[in-house]
């Protein structure tokens, strides 16, 4: 969205495109579901459908990792899972520090999806002395001033900021000073960090505002329902098993 271009190679290219990296976790989840369902192999078409993308994009994305498919057959679910995990650096278990144990912090601390994807919440911290000592999900809340020690001791390289906006930059600075080099920011503000530190943000109200835009257009928009000239040929596949009580259906992931 900005300036931050964590992946872009400075000059000539030879890495995985950002857009692809952002989709790999989605493929991973789809693969996980397929494996649970007992599939050994998947075609790009199937996998793409369950990930909510089209198959050309999926194949192009996977091609950046190497050639792990078999022509005429598809991809081995287990092998592909491993390769994507490897590419994402998920073969190791990252230790994460979560700062701010308010409402949202509590919810994040209890979020099962972290653990299941190779992340371990190694520390909970807060600036409020009243919160220090509280036990959340079996983890003791420590004071933010202990950050340097905790980061060092636990080998933490990823920090999550779930504080109110006014404290976020200070916490961010503390995380960086302690050696954290990747930050996930839930506070609704822009963070400034030195080069070499990656920041991603999740902003709930921004997402709603984007929906507001589309909602508004649906209501008053220029092209309420597009004058479809003839229907973009085979796009927007009507999914096979379009449930009974549910409309036609279109796979959708995001943005």
């Amino acid at each position: 969205m900005t300036d931050q271009r964590p992946s872009a190679r400075t000059g000539r290219d030879r890495g995985i495109p950002d857009a692809t990296v952002a989709r790999l976790p989605v493929y991973l989840r789809a693969l996980s579901a397929l494996a649970d369902a007992g599939s050994d192999t998947v075609s790009s078409e199937e996998l793409a459908t369950s990930a909510g993308v089209n198959s050309a994009k999926l194949r192009k994305d996977l091609s950046h990792l190497g050639s792990y498919g078999t022509r005429g057959v598809g991809y081995d679910v287990e092998l592909l899972t491993e390769e994507i995990s490897l590419a994402l650096g998920l073969s190791q278990r990252w230790a994460v520090a979560l700062v701010g144990v308010g409402n949202l912090g509590h919810a994040l601390a209890g979020y099962a999806g972290f653990a299941s994807r190779g992340f371990r919440i190694a520390a909970l911290l807060d600036a409020d002395p009243a919160r220090v000592g509280e036990l959340i999900q079996g983890i003791n809340v420590q004071h933010i001033d202990d950050l340097p020690a905790v980061v060092e001791h636990e080998g933490i390289s990823i920090g999550v900021i779930a504080t109110p906006a006014p404290s976020a930059q200070l916490v961010c600075d503390q995380l960086v000073a302690a050696g954290v080099t990747s930050i996930l920011n839930f506070a609704p503000c822009v963070l400034s960090v030195p080069d070499g530190v990656d920041v991603r943000k999740v902003d709930l109200s921004i997402e709603l505002q984007i929906l507001s835009f589309h909602e508004n257009r649906k209501a008053f928009g220029a092209q309420p329902n597009q004058f479809a000239k003839k229907q973009p040929p085979g796009r927007l596949t009507t999914l096979p098993g379009g449930a009974a009580g549910t409309p036609p259906a279109r796979e959708v992931v995001n943005e």
Copy 2:
């Protein structure tokens, strides 16, 4: 990230680009901060900096809304705020239904950023009868089966899904059937919806996995298998101002 292209006009263009729409809320927030700080006008350079983008992008983005700046001067903070709000459809107060009042649902229900940006949580719903009747933030939790009545009565067009993944598609179908046309999905799964319904998702573990990718690269060099010709020039910079409180700083927003 996928297929869903809520805004893209089918053929010729005549709308605000998606990438721009996604940044408008950020500008709005920066403007709000500037107004609080007492500024009457801002240059594209200043506003861009506080929003974490570069000024060319900012100006290009704003140019899609019209010409609201004054050459040689800058933008009137109040006027620009109004114009962006208008473009985003925030001049009206959207009623939102939040489904799933577990950990995350509780946190979302209490999130101040919604109300402050023109959204009103008009209903909390859950499928668990044990939760019905609970009072959260002054709002009574209702049973999901009451959805149609509630949506109609409150004029709800935006739904937020904060249920576990296995229930998300069902809830989504119910929201759509009740008339909701925009959905913000926090459940880690792909939703399928009919045409005309917009979905955005927020996936906490995906964000972490993306950070993992970058963290991994920082740890094991840019190209694991790269026959690097000469060293990618200035990458992986040893942070300039390193220690001492906080480093040089670089504005960062996201993706």
